[in-house]
């Protein structure tokens, strides 16, 4: 079973040279730590920055420079600032190559729920609905099951929807799944995890074609 760093590391293998990438809060943020050697990726922060860098050293903290998680950050060479309309404009227009975000539930048709739990204080969707509605390539980083062991890869989302039919790929602690018209297509297993175990833990339609390889980490 992968820990959150393993999930992030596996997602980083999806990055390609020249990609503009939006990383959501949580596990997706960790992907930035595993960008493969030799490729250049530009990170978008939807509060208005392309070219997000690492956290600042203590003596270079700038209150006017934060990411979408409201954390202090830095910029890298070649960065650019813009307003929030342009930021979501470039997302809507499909300029951002890859969006990585977390989810509470994903359905086998690509629906995603990640903003609201009935009965709990609603904090708001922030930019999640804009991102999932418009991004051309969305990878979800998530735990396969909830704390009680119930699958979060479902035939249909039970929580309020964030977006319909938008997720292209799921990387969970158990495996990598492409979303196809026939459901979750298992393409890689986490190290040491059997297809039987994945079948048991996946409530949505699951497609397993022949031998499924274990994940490879560079």
């Amino acid at each position: 079973m992968l820990d959150k760093f393993g999930i992030a590391k596996r997602i980083a293998r999806e990055l390609q040279d020249g990609y503009y990438v939006n990383l959501g809060i949580g596990i997706p943020t960790l992907v930035a730590n595993y960008i493969p050697e030799g490729i250049e990726v530009v990170l978008q922060s939807e509060n208005g920055l392309l070219g997000m860098g690492p956290f600042p050293f203590a003596d270079e903290v700038d209150a006017d420079l934060i990411n979408a998680g409201k954390q202090t950050i830095t910029t890298v060479k070649g960065s650019a600032f813009f307003d929030s309309a342009m930021s979501f404009g470039m997302i809507r227009a499909g300029k951002v190559d890859l969006t990585v975000l977390g989810a509470m539930e994903v359905a086998d048709n690509g629906d995603i729920a990640n903003w609201k739990v009935p009965g709990k204080m609603v904090k708001g969707m922030g930019g999640a609905m804009d991102l999932v509605a418009a991004a051309k390539n969305i990878i979800v980083a998530m735990q396969h099951c909830d704390k009680a062991g119930n699958s979060k890869l479902l035939p249909k989302c039970t929580l309020p929807i964030t977006g319909l039919g938008c997720v292209k790929k799921v990387v969970s602690d158990l495996g990598v799944f492409n979303i196809t018209e026939h459901g979750f297509h298992l393409i890689e297993r986490a190290p040491g995890i059997s297809t039987d175990f994945i079948t048991e833990k996946t409530a949505g339609r699951l497609i397993i074609n022949g031998e499924v390889p274990e994940m490879i980490f560079d």
Binding site: A63, G69, M121
Partner: protein, 235 residues
């Protein structure tokens, strides 16, 4: 050209109970601190506030919530505020949560003189309830209306006596959009200079959108999530 006002108190002096006001900023970054303080002091009530967030309990818009000055909040994310939650649950406060990009674009539309825009965001979700839907090239879009706001209050880094504004880093966020969208726009700036001293090539918001401007004082610029890395990690 008489846009300069003395201070925040003068800038917000004619904001009445029941007004709709936009407040720039993302989290606590780029918020109009001086005007928020002035609005709290003035005690104006029953406000509808359009702002991406609602501050924290003891800073930003949270200060106005503490004084129960806000009747309705239009935001995309309001998670950092216990008093907000209390007022919402008790029914004292109404909240309209809308996607962040939709919020930004509804400000932009107002500033560009467009009554409405179509966006994909929220289709198939509860955000779409009751909204007009149109299909373009096989995709379904929601009709979202431009905001209609009595005042917009923004914070800029530099400004001049004609109201031209320059923003800094990610403190830009919603500020230029809201500046365009208010019937009356108030800008507080860290540095106010005579017209001619800012490079016209570098202006983010042309002064035509700004009605009142003043140099703010004592900016705290509180940080919500201080994150740093250690010096031994080489760059």
């Amino acid at each position: 050209m008489r846009k300069i006002v003395k201070n925040a108190a003068e800038a917000v002096n004619d904001i009445q109970d029941g007004a709709t006001i936009m407040l720039g900023g993302f989290g606590l970054c780029g918020i109009p601190e001086n005007c928020i303080t002035a609005l709290v002091k003035k005690g104006v009530k029953n406000l509808t506030c359009i702002s991406n967030n609602a501050g924290v309990d003891d800073f930003g818009i949270g200060l106005m919530l503490q004084q129960k000055q806000i009747r309705k909040m239009i935001s995309s994310y309001v998670g950092e505020n216990a008093e907000f939650e209390r007022q919402l649950l008790s029914g004292e406060l109404e909240v309209d949560l809308i996607p962040q990009g939709t919020l930004a674009t509804r400000c932009m539309a107002a500033g560009y003189g467009m009554p409405a825009v179509f966006t994909l965001a929220g289709f198939g979700t509860e955000v779409a309830e009751g909204k007009e839907i149109r299909e373009f090239n096989g995709k379904k879009y929601l009709l979202e209306y431009a905001f209609d706001s009595d005042f917009a209050i923004v914070k800029a880094w530099k400004g001049d006596t004609h109201g031209n504004l320059i923003f800094k880093a990610t403190a830009r966020n919603f500020n230029p959009l809201m500046a365009m969208a208010g019937k009356i726009t108030i800008a507080e700036v860290e540095e106010l200079v005579p017209a001619g001293e800012l490079n016209p090539n570098e202006i983010h918001t042309p002064g035509i959108y700004v009605h009142r401007i003043f140099q703010g004082v004592n900016y705290e610029k509180r940080i919500e999530q201080l994150t740093t890395r250690k010096q031994e990690h080489a760059r």
